[in-house]
Subunit: 333 residues, 4 copies
């Protein structure tokens, strides 16, 4: 039974706590949070103890440190846990500063501890099914990939302003998804974007509506479309076109009820509201995959390099947007 | 070029006129109608002449008589045309009186002229595709057939009162469809019905909502559900369940536009409004099939017996509804 | 925290054990099974004790007895638990013998203990959504209800032979669903059926393919279609037609992946395989609803009368099938 | 009755001939083609005469000249007809050389004759429905438009080599569609492309797989994805995202038949095969719209400027692809 120290007691940490508890091979050992009450409420629910982050990381009983705190502390806690020899699961991103990410990734790799970054969407049963179909050659060689990723509505202004901007905060999931599904690294990035949704975003010089195009060395093209507000829930779809056909991942409706009336036509349900609903199973599957890798001494499915490379693509997108040019990237150097 | 005398100038006759004109091997020779103006308007549109029905049937130039007049004249005009040696296309039903239908069918068969009854739905590309798939064994042996047939709204009261009742007027299309898709004659009929939609229908002792179940000698079951009012357009769907799977014919939406909004979910378009829209192509294909049979001296696809047998099923349904029992039928005697 | 004694350790019992464990207000106190090893394996997983059924029912610590044993023991254990003053959750059916069910229901009602029968499908989010929409008047007065309920493949022969026959074993769920969605008791039952799927079933004089039609006093019609083998997974759909439109509950696909190819068209995924997959969430919601009713001292959502009435409809269907007549029922006497 | 001189007797000309014949207000007066036999076959079918193009354009009986010859003759015949004072319907493109198009458009506009360019897709009932919904404000202000336009398989090599390249030949339809749906002119163009499908295309330095991104002055973004080969038929879909929701135009399946089996899941039909099938109704509606404009003395719906502007966008896409930069355009100068 692996003992897990959970750093953070917020929304995502609560999701992780539940999956740690439900998993037959892991137990929630401790919860740490700068808000003592949040930590104790969560700890109590699963009969865990409350520790400071330092205590938890130092505790010899702890096998795994799960970093689900605020973004600016991810790199620090990860390094501290790595130096203490713990296995680490870290929510994305490692950091918003690319140089800090590079040095952090280098040190973690040198220390040789298992480190998994939380790109949960890869573990969504629908996206994972697409990946198996692509790798299984069901449509031959992939040629064109299209990722639609649109939030139901803009997150709060104070979050948006410290988020690192749309490309680093939101598109980063889609950069990882593109790499996952392409099966080949992008070599160029091109970004067209506007601020159409949020006056706050616009005033801050950021964007909230974007189309980002990636191209690989063999000529495969991936295009991501993002918006901070869909106007109809969480839009998370993928299309993959290949030599022998096409694969779609559709949204998941809240229920399968359809109403047909004279006035409104055939009304199906909207997609599941947001990531906690749509990716509920993905979070659970992600934890299982991490635990299975630890138990079998296999590489974790999404490692430190995956965290770094998604951020490198975000940096390139920002440069492309600013210079109005296609920007070359080399993710493998 | 086959010369066609069209009896009738109403809504259905106008549809036929267009398909006669469009077909490269047929020409509209004459139009007859008890309303002189209706006849002349339609005749003028396609450069045809106006004749009385008697003149048209007697005219040696005429190859084909198309009977699209009111129901009570179908049998009379058909017999008159058969005696004149013409090929006949007659709109359903031959008559509402089963004895009259039997004697009419017997005489027409004895005269040996080509006679096709207008069960247009068989020629709908969707229903026809289902039929090819069933006959091709795509789901193995058929076991359960389900026909949904619901009108957008009740026809006018004066029509409903002379229609012969729901089973003879509306279900008759579905009885023919059941026979077409089953590929085996029903041996029993059971009908459960209510008058829920139209006070006129209820006052007249008729029904407007029904479930009719047919069973064949080998045990195949077909169930038809009917309503005089769907509340959302014309509902014309079929399900066929067999040993190896299931086949559906879905409705055809007016366009493929789908709107997704926070308030109303994912709204697709309603089905095509009524039979003129949904079965537009069926009427055209039906005419082509009739002409092809005439040209090749092959049997017509829907003959006088098909007209009789559908009506025999309607009579059995009426008896079942009245006696609350399953009623046996022998369509092949 | 309610302490639950689980009688049975088979497939369904294991599902209940998990939901008892996951629910914040219930704990798995004991497991009982005639196979000692099954009981101990399940008990160990959730740190519960192994007791005999008699011990468990007699144990003063136990608040709730959950009966998930073989059908022939349901009535006996339920009565024993009722006499011991426990709240009871009993898997359907109470018994296959209608007289035994009547006397059992009478005694349980007289004892006044909470008794819930496991008609889990009512708690499926899709079917429950339909029910809210119907009760909320979204399509006006309901007129026609259609339940499609088809198993992926016949259960093992030895199960089929002791199941009490298709109407009592399989259709019983659909009878309950019909009552739930109609919101009005059926007054007549008509059944047409065949043995097309299983030679064992046929040899035993039972059926495996059926259409059952119910009618209420106000004329609403419900039609159920059943098969012991769909050929494509678990088919669990409902259509409800009313004055102002139509509501469908569609199947739930395994994932939302769709593949489009030249050879095979647009392939979507099959429905979820069988009841453990499709009704996974329904079992969890059912348990929550039971616990909520106990906590709030409210009536349970599916009570002993629901168990009895579904079986009365099954008996009427059997009689209708044998006599080839519509059979009247009075569920409220 | 407008008399139409049809220049050309090939595939598209035959489609036009049929719609000219079917329209109550137009008649096919003459057919001209460099292949005498093609001209006479088509003329005979509709009882028209065969004339040389010069004779037809000079004939005082002719009201309308329909140019459906090879691309290199479009501009010449259009100018000749304009100078003869005829109304003109010209298949796209006016020419592949942008300077020639500019001078041709200028002269035609100066002559003041009605000139319609054949951007048939605007008249597809599905795309037209989208346009009405957008202009009607059904999703508020449009923000992101996505056009999927993929051919079933590459056209013959000899066609591809003289087509002017993918952007001028294929994307030109999508540039027009983008302008139509955006309701605002693009001000910049960005193109990423590869040659993945056709060795001939690759050897010729052309591309067959592309993503083109347009942006308007107000920040709206349109993205077009093209391929010369979809692998599953003709993929013609549009998505429009706005402030209050999203609108999709889906493909049109060949029939509504769906097959569900254990082995292959739920198979729906492929999209209609290619433009003659998918845009059959669009060609008919296009002709009706042209005739209606002529009769009512209203501007034609797609004029010479529309032809020019789509080509200007193609030129910009080519430049962007070559320079790897975003290219500014000013379509209104």
């Amino acid at each position: 039974m692996l003992k897990v120290a959970l750093l953070g007691a917020g929304r995502i940490a609560q999701v992780h706590a539940r999956h740690i508890h439900d998993h037959p091979d892991t137990t929630l050992y401790s919860v740490s949070d700068i808000y003592a009450e949040a930590a104790s409420t969560l700890a109590e629910k699963y009969a865990a103890r409350v520790l400071s982050a330092d205590e938890a990381i130092a505790d010899p009983q702890v096998d795994v440190v799960l970093v689900a705190t605020s973004t600016d502390t991810h790199a620090g806690f990860s390094l501290q846990a790595a130096r203490a020899g713990k296995a680490i699961f870290c929510e994305k991103p490692i950091d918003l500063n690319i140089e800090r990410v590079k040095s952090c990734v280098a040190e973690i790799k040198a220390l040789g501890v298992p480190f998994m970054i939380g790109f949960n969407r890869r573990f969504d049963p629908n996206h994972a099914h697409l990946n198996r179909a692509l790798r299984g050659g069901e449509i031959g060689e992939l040629e064109h990939l299209q990722i639609c990723s649109r939030d139901p509505s803009p997150l709060p202004d104070d979050y948006l302003l410290v988020s690192g901007g749309m490309f680093r905060d939101m598109t980063i999931h889609d950069f990882d998804m593109a790499r996952f599904q392409l099966g080949e690294e992008p070599v160029s990035v091109s970004a067209i974007a506007s601020a159409l949704v949020s006056p706050t975003v616009k005033a801050a010089g950021d964007v909230d509506t974007a189309v980002i195009t990636l191209q690989t060395a063999s000529g495969k093209i991936a295009v991501i479309n993002n918006s901070r507000r869909s106007g109809y829930g969480y839009d998370q779809r993928i299309e993959a076109h290949g030599q022998k056909g096409c694969l779609y991942v559709h949204n998941v409706p809240t229920t399968t009820l359809v109403k047909v009336t004279e006035e409104f036509g055939a009304q199906a349900q909207k997609p599941l509201h947001f990531f906690l609903e749509r990716y509920q199973e993905a979070f659970s599957e992600q934890w299982k995959a991490f635990v299975a890798a630890l138990k079998d001494n296999r590489p974790v499915p999404t490692n430190a390099d995956d965290g770094l490379r998604a951020l490198l693509l975000a940096e390139a997108a920002i440069e492309s947007f600013k210079t109005q040019k296609v920007v070359s990237v080399n993710l493998e150097e």
